[in-house]
């Protein structure tokens, strides 16, 4: 139950974020739904480690965004951004920089490395989703 509530809040946050970039209401709703799904995948696979769960969530978001963008005949970026922003390691990167400013270089380095790996896993997930959708739609 808690998982669903958290995912719904994640969806609401990502939909609102998409709206801030001037997306049409329907696209913001789609972005929010993708954000909901992304956080659900992230939470369900969290046991495999933060990097793996981020990768799987990014892959799911990328696939959903690209398939929906094909259906709607619009670019995938506006749909994916809302979902991805929930996963981006912005807060971790902030905490890392904060540790550096406070003089905790070791903690800062660890966190920055973690943020980099999370960003890398999001990038990888998105690139893999591009490849998969390219293969799917080429066959048709």
């Amino acid at each position: 139950m808690n998982l669903i509530v958290q995912s719904l809040i994640a969806g609401l946050a990502s939909g609102s974020f998409t709206l801030l970039y001037n997306a049409k209401p329907f696209d913001a709703i789609l972005g929010g739904s993708i954000g909901f799904m992304g956080w659900l995948i992230y939470s369900l696979t969290f046991g495999y480690g933060i990097i793996a769960s981020t990768l799987l969530a990014a892959l799911g978001i990328g696939l959903a965004g690209r398939i929906l963008s094909r259906i709607r005949h619009i670019p995938s970026q506006p749909l994916i951004v809302g979902g991805i922003v929930v996963l981006v390691p912005g807060f971790t990167a902030f905490k890392a920089m904060n540790a550096f400013v406070s003089g905790n270089s070791v903690q800062g380095t660890t966190m920055m490395l973690n943020a980099f790996l999370m960003a890398a896993s999001i990038g990888t997930g998105l690139v893999v989703s591009v490849a998969i959708t390219a293969i799917i739609f080429r066959k048709k």
Partner: protein, 254 residues
């Protein structure tokens, strides 16, 4: 293919600039520019390196023309992005001619659609509160984050202090730190860490970090690396702003 080479190049570079200014990925823009050129019967070489666009076209008679354009600050406007993308698609499919496409592009670029201020503020508040709740937790911190996020969003977007993103990030950080310090005792049970974590989410360049990495992995290494560098600079500015704000209010611990 009797289209004038100059007009064609002008349309191509304006389309690329419009796409980049509204949030299109580098790779997609390069592909669209190449397709427009091919549609008009030119050989095209397009290179987009972050804010600089280089396009060279060659016609069947061997005439070569190159144009360079700086796009200035890049931002995201999905409404315009979708419209420009649809226009390019229409042009590539042959449903519209060059001069009509160019005038339509100009009207899309000059159109000024944005949501009313209260909708934008509600969206900013929901985004900040939601991010706080799922990343840190705590209902009171989430509510405080919503209020602070809306205030800082309006302060940076509607009261433009300077056309300088680094300074905007720094001042956002200062306002967030001071705002969190003020709101923390009002909302009993909220934490400074929680309030700040939600309110900063609109300003952390997480998207830039991720897009940068995506572009590096798709082959646009220079563009991606520049985005990573910019993200780091913006993050440093935000954190330094929060540090400066916390020094100002003293005794604030994260």
């Amino acid at each position: 293919m009797s289209e004038d080479i100059g007009k064609a190049l002008d349309f191509m570079i304006n389309t690329a600039a419009a796409l980049m200014r509204t949030g299109s990925p580098t790779t997609r823009t390069e592909i669209w520019v190449s397709k427009i050129g091919q549609k008009l019967g030119f050989e095209v070489d397009a290179a987009i390196i972050y804010t600089v666009i280089y396009i060279t076209i060659k016609d069947s008679n061997g005439n070569v023309m190159t144009m360079t354009k700086r796009t200035g600050n890049l931002s995201s406007d999905f409404d315009k992005f979708i419209k420009i993308d649809a226009l390019v698609k229409k042009f590539v499919d042959g449903k519209i001619n060059l001069s009509d496409a160019h005038s339509e592009l100009k009207s899309i670029v000059n159109s000024d659609f944005s949501y009313p201020i209260f909708i934008r503020l509600i969206a900013a508040a929901l985004a900040c509160g939601g991010f706080e709740y799922i990343l840190v937790g705590g209902l009171m911190s989430a509510i405080a984050s919503m209020i602070l996020g809306a205030i800082v969003y309006s302060a940076t977007n509607y009261i433009s202090l300077l056309d300088n993103r680094f300074f905007q990030q720094f001042s956002s950080g200062v306002i967030i730190a001071i705002g969190a310090w003020i709101l923390s005792p009002i909302f009993k049970g909220s934490t400074l860490n929680g309030i700040i974590s939600g309110a900063i989410m609109l300003f952390v360049p997480g998207l830039l970090i991720t897009n940068g990495f995506s572009e590096i992995s798709q082959g646009s290494v220079i563009s991606g690396t520049i985005k990573e560098s910019e993200a780091l600079a913006l993050l440093v500015a935000l954190v330094f702003g929060i540090s400066a704000g916390s020094v100002f209010v003293r005794g604030m611990k994260f």
